[in-house]
Amino acid sequence: MDDFERELQQAFDRRPAPPSLKRKLMERRQSKGRRLWVRSPFFTWQWMAASVVLVAALAGGVEWNHLEEVRREEAAREQVLTALRITSHALNQMNARLAARGKATD
């Protein structure tokens, strides 16, 4: 090895890596780890189970709301029929009284 080669060897010492290299690398590695967890079968099953529960809860809510509406409609119809029955009974009584009064005047 001559002087020039020795000079090259000195000039080509390893340079220190920038301090940011390790920090960025560890951040990338951590975020990759998180992404892998998100794509793991365990996470997928958890996600699917949560989705099924959510869909079931929503469907149950919609059904309960529908049944409650039907019940309210039934009650309202029942009330109207009762009112009609009372009115009809009152009208019948009124008719009977009018008929009795007509006979008396004759």
Binding site: D3, F4, E5, R6, E7, L8, Q9, Q10, A11, F12, D13, R14, R15, P16, A17, P18, S20, L21, K22, K24, L25, M26, R28, R29, K32
Partner: protein
Amino acid sequence: MAHDWQPDFEQLVDEHQSMVFSLALRMTGDRGLAEEIAQDVFMELDRNLGRLESADHVCFWLRRVAMSRSADALRRRRVRGMDLWVEMEDVHGASAEERSSPLGARLERLLGALPEAQRAALVLRYQEDLTPEEIAATLEAPLATVKSHLQRGLKLLRAKAEVHLKEYVRGGKYVGGA
């Protein structure tokens, strides 16, 4: 294959980051790109760590992948029509290294003007102190080709140094340190 070696990724980064970064820097001449390449190389190491069998294997693997990723980056830049070493001179001007070791920095700049294959052989020879056989294994090239790149690269670099670094030459001999 069963082996007792238990690698610790963070420790490997501490141990080899300077080597990987320096290889990428000397191949590309761009600090930012060299840092990106080094990150990619270590991320790939993380994925392949289970397949590596010893500390020496890791070192060999890191050198090989760093050189290969640097060559890929140079190829991509060539396609875009950019000359990295010219860019380094323009962007960084007198770097900290240049201020502390002007001869070393100028030798590096001359190295950047060499053909890529010769540069790769010289960097592995003088930065990593590898033998031609080890360089051939790292670059996956025939030994005769590597020897030829080393010989031609050294000759070319010497010729360039004689023209551009006259102030460091006294009586035909190089004066170290500066």
